[in-house]
Symmetry: none
Subunit: 415 residues, 2 copies
Amino acid sequence: MNAEILAVGTELLLGNILNTNARYLSERLPEAGINVYYQSVCGDNPQRLKETLSLALSRSDMVITTGGLGPTYDDLTKETVAEALGLRLVLHEPSLRLIEQYMASLGREMTPIQRKQAMQPEGATVFRNDWGTAPACAVEARGKVVILLPGPPREMEPLFEHCVLPWLAKFSEGVLLSHTVHIFGVGEAEVEERLSHLLRDSVNPTVAPYAKQGEVQLRVSAKAGTREAAEALIAPAIEAVRAELGDHVYGIDVGSLQAAVVALLRERGLKLATAESCTAGLLSKRITEIPGASEVFECGVTSYANRIKHELLGVSEQTLREFGAVSEPVACQMAEGVRRLAGADIGVGITGLAGPGGGSTEKPVGLVYVALSTAGGTEAKRLMLARVNPDRENIRYLASSNALDMVRRALMKQN
Amino acid sequence: MNAEILAVGTELLLGNILNTNARYLSERLPEAGINVYYQSVCGDNPQRLKETLSLALSRSDMVITTGGLGPTYDDLTKETVAEALGLRLVLHEPSLRLIEQYMASLGREMTPIQRKQAMQPEGATVFRNDWGTAPACAVEARGKVVILLPGPPREMEPLFEHCVLPWLAKFSEGVLLSHTVHIFGVGEAEVEERLSHLLRDSVNPTVAPYAKQGEVQLRVSAKAGTREAAEALIAPAIEAVRAELGDHVYGIDVGSLQAAVVALLRERGLKLATAESCTAGLLSKRITEIPGASEVFECGVTSYANRIKHELLGVSEQTLREFGAVSEPVACQMAEGVRRLAGADIGVGITGLAGPGGGSTEKPVGLVYVALSTAGGTEAKRLMLARVNPDRENIRYLASSNALDMVRRALMKQN
């Protein structure tokens, strides 16, 4: 079965936003045995949307639209799809009630145009949107399948993961099962080289690498008659990856580095505290993304100014003068200081140059020191993070990822 | 003149890479008075590329391709375009010499397949590629314009900037200019209703709403002979928006709430400090996304545990016992405490329930208190940010946005 992704939205044609939805769907659809042959984008223009949609229906078995499901007058996707397939739009009561609840929770009145969001093509399978107000749906008509998804990625992605992907199973005989191997500390090129045989020869299971920001994920997918049979096909492939990459593998289906770290801290009953300069709260924000983080995280300090590093974390003024704020000894004293301040088991310190300004030849943008302080002592790591992408947010993100990885490896050693 | 962007590359259909070229070109082309009506993507498949190209030529005055100009057998864009326009490919000597020089500089031999990169459609305007080996070119035939650009953004972007944009001037029917009005505190549906006349009747300038997370942006675009004339068309529309939405408008082309806040703090020469519980560093992370934030931000505290709220920020234990951590008095004492601790002009305190657990009937998930402490006193705001099915990250993001908006409004009042 082949599919076309049709993104609807003038903001895409104006270059206001990146079409991350097309990438996400192109990456995930093969898991359901569906190949993407085309991606297209058109604006909120009735005539052009109609033409683009009928073209997509003429050349693809399945069309997946993103965007144009909102309440406003220029959200036309549902109307246009229904018309193209000769279907009426009917009121979907459960969706209407959800939208009413949502508006009530915001203390806002339900406006007439919001009713529009509860209208669905007759006979559609409606997917409840727990991440926003616009319900998604799937329609089968005239030998084609059309799936309508909202535009915002934070709604589209979970809807696809939890509602659409399971629904798609009916188009592929048997069970299609995937596990994700999470890898940190080796680049995509090295992973592909070291696992080349596995990647090249993999048929069932298939093993596909995806480079995430500073990480690599391998999606291992197998098709079989039963879930158990699929698991049995996947297990040896995952073992082969572990055998080759060792402790660079930080988890299977674990979601993120911060999730792995919080889980390890909870197992060990240990508490972590953070002192951040260049990342300025990004590390503590990522740790506390994980529900239940409060059991293992109580305190973080963003010490952006030297004065705060000294007064709050006890970094010596002489060390700051002698080595500068971006230095290994300062990172170490930040880690030790926040560990003391918070009465935690593990203290992390991050100091670096995220740019764009402030770099020099001996201390270029992208230079970051990460330190880890425990009862056993303090260790530090020097990172150069501007090689691939000298972007402020990228440097900050990679710095926080490396800090999480240092904590993870320290906790693993305790086994 | 309207254009279509056709990205060629199977890696896009596999979701391996994001189509940043489509966004870049969509954003830049209006500067030459060219409107993008379609973006399409197809793989390195001769038949589908041929079909997608002829479709693009049938519906657009100009087609801009990215990718498929490399030396390998599956780089087919040039061949396919030449065939579609009935043109031969001829050797372009200057390009050949440049490729020879480039290979020599790498100490490599010129291979036969690299000759292929020097072949160009007859009559094409060839753009010298100083950032890679594949030359770009523009062809005019059969009443259409086709521009061929390489896929790697680090080659495509400078080629467009320095070669294509100047060349496009000859087609310019004037300037298309856009400004973005940033709005916080009213939902998309309400903006839509209050500005319905402006949105529906807008032709030149056009006014289009985009919902961002918890925000609304209005893109006001006008077309005119000169930049000045376009500005003159846009100004009254922006005034009409300001007149209707008042101080919900937080800026024009300002980028983000945190950028607006950092700019205001720098203007006023004031320093901000943050005390975060449920947002746990997200607010300080957002503020420090802005280069130069160090002038106005020195210190943030993530006080996740009550003990830290008390010991570090001086929140009274009795207040914590009496009102609970998620309460207005605790938010106020956090704001006052961090202002004192950091020696800042403005202190912000955030405490709330991000969920998924921990909610109760009188304190449901999504309940957040934000407090602002200045020399003039302390004010607090109670927010209900719960969704139908609460999303932890969304609640945290909206809480930090509301805190930024409170700071912004306080700073505006000082005028």
